[in-house]
């Protein structure tokens, strides 16, 4: 049985005190078409500050497409999208200053060392060398990866790469961090540890937007949305969804929806 370390932004009923200040991501009627294929079909949802928001669905459902739009990597075909208070069409660069991102391929430079990767991204986000060095030492100590500081990413085991990629994504303390299928390919224990890191980030006020096709990870989120064939078929807390669909776990919820 997994023990969740609950972060303290969410009330027991799953409601976010941040709701009072308004959502940090608003999406209204988002449509994304590739030629005649509609990847995102009129998506509407909000994400609140400090939430861990899960974006679930099978492969090909459109999750990654939507996430990439929110990051400013892709332009919507139509619809209104605001991230961290900035409009996705006109203020994309401002959005980028306030977000972090971790992709499926982990995207650290394989031919650079841990320290060099951190140096690069810290520099890009304007963190001073002094601050960067201090944070890095702290980070590596916490992750128990001090010895890896000058090792090339290519030589590290997958689990370490994952942890590091995430840490680099939140190094500059962004308002929101977007995680695209971050836990692929590692064992359940490593996945669990990874989610501990996510909780910690959320408890520090970072909103987490994560896509995944692992249904058990849905349990770890504050709210989840389930996508199927480009549409959002369900959006609520895991508890309420299980109730609604009379399911024992999120897997069953999903099977019912995807049917």
């Amino acid at each position: 049985m997994n023990t969740k370390v609950k972060h303290n932004n969410l009330s027991p009923t799953g409601e976010n005190p941040g709701r009072e200040t308004g959502p940090i991501i608003t999406v209204e009627n988002l449509v994304k078409k590739f030629g005649s294929f509609t990847a995102n079909d009129n998506l509407t949802f909000d994400v609140y500050r400090g939430e861990i928001f899960g974006f679930l669905g099978a492969n090909g459902a459109g999750k990654t497409t939507a996430l990439r739009i929110l990051c400013g990597l892709s332009t919507p075909t139509s619809g209104e999208v605001k991230v961290a208070g900035f409009d996705i069409y006109r203020e994309t660069e401002k959005i980028k200053k306030n977000i972090g991102y971790m992709s499926q391929k982990f995207s650290l430079y394989e031919d650079l060392t841990v320290a060099e990767n951190i140096q690069l991204y810290a520099g890009i986000y304007g963190i001073s060398p002094k601050k960067r060095k201090a944070k890095m030492t702290e980070l590596l100590k916490k992750l128990e990866l001090e010895g890896a500081k000058n090792k090339l990413i290519a030589g590290l085991p997958l689990g370490w790469k994952q942890k590091l990629a995430f840490s680099v994504a939140v190094f500059h303390e962004p308002k929101i961090v977007f995680l695209d299928e971050p836990t692929g390919g590692v064992d359940p224990i490593t996945r669990r540890r990874f989610w501990d890191m996510i909780y910690e980030a959320a408890s520090n006020g970072i909103t987490v937007f994560v896509t995944t096709h692992y249904m058990d990870e849905a349990e770890y989120c504050d709210r989840v949305s389930i996508m199927d064939a480009g549409k959002i078929e369900a959006l609520d807390t895991p508890a309420k969804l299980k109730e609604q669909y009379n399911a024992k776990n999120m897997d069953e919820v999903f099977i019912q929806i995807a049917r």
């Binding site: 990597l73 995207s107 031919d111």
Partner: protein, 372 residues
């Protein structure tokens, strides 16, 4: 501003960490200078001749002897049957067959005219013409001597003779290597500028790390500078290294100003880099980059006057060459290196090169988008 420095730091680190990079940067210019420049020549070293002397007279023997006396004629065989000669042409064992027919001497004396045949392997038209020209000259010189000997008059000379003196400036030895070296260096610099920078960029696309950068506040121009500057530097360095080797190995002089040379190379590189960058924005894989770049590079090189002079090309080709950065660069390079031309001597070319450079670079920047 600082962002650019961080990006450059990352780029340089990645480039030099690539174990094959360093030997390539040093090895390639070395190889090219030593091998390619020495190989690329139209100067004839040796002509292999087969003599078919059916006359076996004093005159014919003297003629053969004359050919033997010329250093780069090598008499491979002396036979009686011309089919053997033809066979040797087929076999590539001979370049030319000299056929002296029966009654050669008799015809000369009795009829004042005698014929002989030169059978030349004409697959390489250039070489064939040269062989014919040299051989005819030898025969004609032999002819004059023969007349002088036999008719007892001094070398037959026409009543009016224009004495033509030839003098060759800037390359008095007519050393073809001096002509080829700047060309080969230009190719080297182009490969680094176009290919490597383009491939480097597409590589990031292919692997996916480009997304990580696209999500950051890194601006378009910062990313592009990061991708282009390292190769600009490496290319210039290689140019310097190559020139040094050329100077060392075959005394290539650099008459003009070195600063000007590198300045012009820098400007040239901008167009080449811009083009490489543009290609990378319209391709998805490194394979495609390679092929599209190769395609353009080949056309530019062939038409740019590296191997054959542009002035000999048909008019339409010369028009097309106005868009060819290599054309301008080659002109400037050769003028600078061999003749010591100054900036104002090639200001036209400089302007054209700059315009092209700005054009390609702008095209590339316009095409590159952080957002798809």
């Amino acid at each position: 501003m600082k962002t650019i420095l961080y990006i450059l730091q990352k780029e340089f680190r990645q480039i030099f960490r690539n174990r094959t990079m360093l030997p390539m940067i040093f090895g390639v210019p070395l190889l090219q200078m030593l091998i390619l420049v020495f190989a690329a020549t139209f100067e004839m070293k040796q002509i292999d001749m087969v003599v078919v002397d059916k006359d076996l007279s004093a005159a014919s023997r003297e003629l053969v002897a004359k050919f033997e006396g010329v250093p780069f004629y090598h008499i491979a065989e002396a036979v009686q049957d011309e089919t053997i000669g033809e066979k040797m042409l087929l076999n590539d064992k001979a370049d030319v067959v000299l056929v002296i027919p029966v009654n050669f001497e008799r015809n000369l004396v009795r009829n004042d005219k005698a014929q002989l045949q030169l059978l030349v392997n004409a697959i390489d038209g250039n070489t064939a013409q040269l062989i014919f020209a040299y051989s005819s000259r030898i025969i004609s010189s032999f002819n004059q001597n023969l007349v002088a000997e036999w008719k007892g008059i001094p070398e037959f000379t026409p009543p009016a003779l224009v004495k033509i003196a030839e003098s060759y400036w800037y390359n008095s030895e007519l050393d073809y290597k001096w002509y080829m070296a700047p060309g080969i260096l230009a190719i080297l610099v182009t490969i680094i500028g176009m290919f490597m920078s383009g491939m480097n960029l597409v590589r990031e696309k292919e692997i996916g790390t480009i997304e990580q950068l696209n999500v950051t506040p890194v601006k378009k121009y910062q990313f592009i500078i990061g991708k282009l500057v390292p190769f600009w530097v490496i290319a210039l360095f290689d140019l310097a290294f190559g020139l040094f080797i050329a100077w060392l190995v075959f005394d290539l002089p650099i008459v003009g100003s070195l600063w000007l040379l590198f300045g012009m190379a820098g400007v040239y590189l901008i167009s080449v880099l811009g083009l490489g960058l543009f290609i990378s924005t319209i391709t998805e894989t490194q394979q495609q980059v390679m092929f599209v770049s190769f395609f353009f590079m080949m056309i530019f090189i062939l038409m740019g006057g590296i191997f054959t002079p542009v002035e000999s090309m048909p008019h339409w080709a010369q028009m097309v060459d106005r868009l060819n950065p290599i054309f301008y660069f080659m002109k400037i390079m050769r003028m600078l290196i061999l003749k010591g031309s100054g900036f104002f001597d090639f200001i036209e070319e400089f302007v054209s090169l700059s315009v092209l450079g700005l054009f390609f670079l702008s095209l590339a920047i316009w095409r590159y988008r952080k957002t798809a």
